[in-house]
């Protein structure tokens, strides 16, 4: 959906640089998350999608920045596309999500967007499929 270039390589080093620069807060957020799902109801997109768990804020940061962190930046183009789908299509960064443990979920999603951008993966409005 959103590759600006057709380059098939991923610059793992560049991803790691972003990960390293944000290691402390990222590691803490990922470790502290109780996987309790209480943030679900605070996201309007979760409601709009009839409670689809993939729209739960924690599901979004665990499967974007969490995935990049666990794999130490080793993802392929397909993986980056999946992540960009999560961080742009399933989240609008409205910052309204609420976590009782005070995890800054939007910051984590913004970080994953940064990493996508570092690999020339963007959200491209002109390629957006309109719902039927």
């Amino acid at each position: 959906m959103s590759s600006a270039n057709n380059d098939t390589t991923v610059d793992t080093e560049a991803i790691r640089e972003v990960l390293d620069a944000n290691r402390a807060k990222m590691k803490t957020a990922l470790r502290v998350c109780a996987h309790c799902s209480l943030c679900a109801e605070s996201c309007f997109l979760f409601h709009v999608h009839d409670g689809d768990p993939r729209y739960m804020p924690s599901h979004k940061f665990i499967n974007s920045i969490g995935r990049l962190y666990k794999k130490k930046g080793r993802v392929d183009r397909e993986g980056l596309e999946e992540i960009s789908e999560i961080v742009w299509r399933r989240c609008v960064l409205c910052t309204r999500c609420y976590c009782p443990l005070g995890i800054d979920i939007p910051e984590m999603i913004a970080l994953a967007r940064n990493i996508c951008r570092s690999q020339d993966v963007y959200f491209q409005w002109d390629q957006l499929e309109q719902p039927a």
């Binding site: 402390a24 996987h35 679900a40």
Partner: protein, 224 residues
Amino acid sequence: MYDLVRGPFVWVAFIVFIVGTVYQVVRFYALSRETSPFRLTKPTGGPPKTEAPPAEPVLTFGQRMRLSIAGTSPVMITVTTVFHVLLVLTPIFVLGHNVLWDLAWGVSPPSLSEAFTDVLTLIVIAGGVYFLGRRLFMARVRAITSAYDYAILAIATAPFITGFLAYRHIFDYDTVIILHMLAGEIMLIAIPFTKLVHMPFFFINRFLLVHENTFGAGGTRIWR
């Protein structure tokens, strides 16, 4: 075995728990810095005055409660509050523990009756069973659950389950009490190094960090 688990292991567990927790807090301070909270200031001069915002909050207390997680997940919030309060307080007032404190130090916190702490123990276990049920049967919880979450739930409730079995003398007491002490020690050691580290980080995240949902004045620190 019994002497080892009742003696040195207890101290090791408490020291790891305390030093580990202090380490996490010190590490947070080392990796974060003071910042001035973000404040919007009123511009001077400029366009004519607009109507003053209402002094009363726009939403009533009841409306705000209904929109909070206590309103959207009332059962979970009730269960988790009771679970956490009793999880921390019960062990402090268990007679069996205080006898041991007394033997070691000559002082101990006051004890509640064993019959009462037994009920509290059962309530904590019931909370654990509720969390387990959510994890197994609610799609949204299952979607972010891995074996690790079950392991942590087991580590957190094991001291209560084994403590209960020991008090009721269900199964062989000598074995159960050793298992109980081991379970308690494992739980204490696990707190600073697993997702149970949310114990200190709840307070760091909600009171110290500048963040959308910080309580009170809005926090003063940000990660470097």
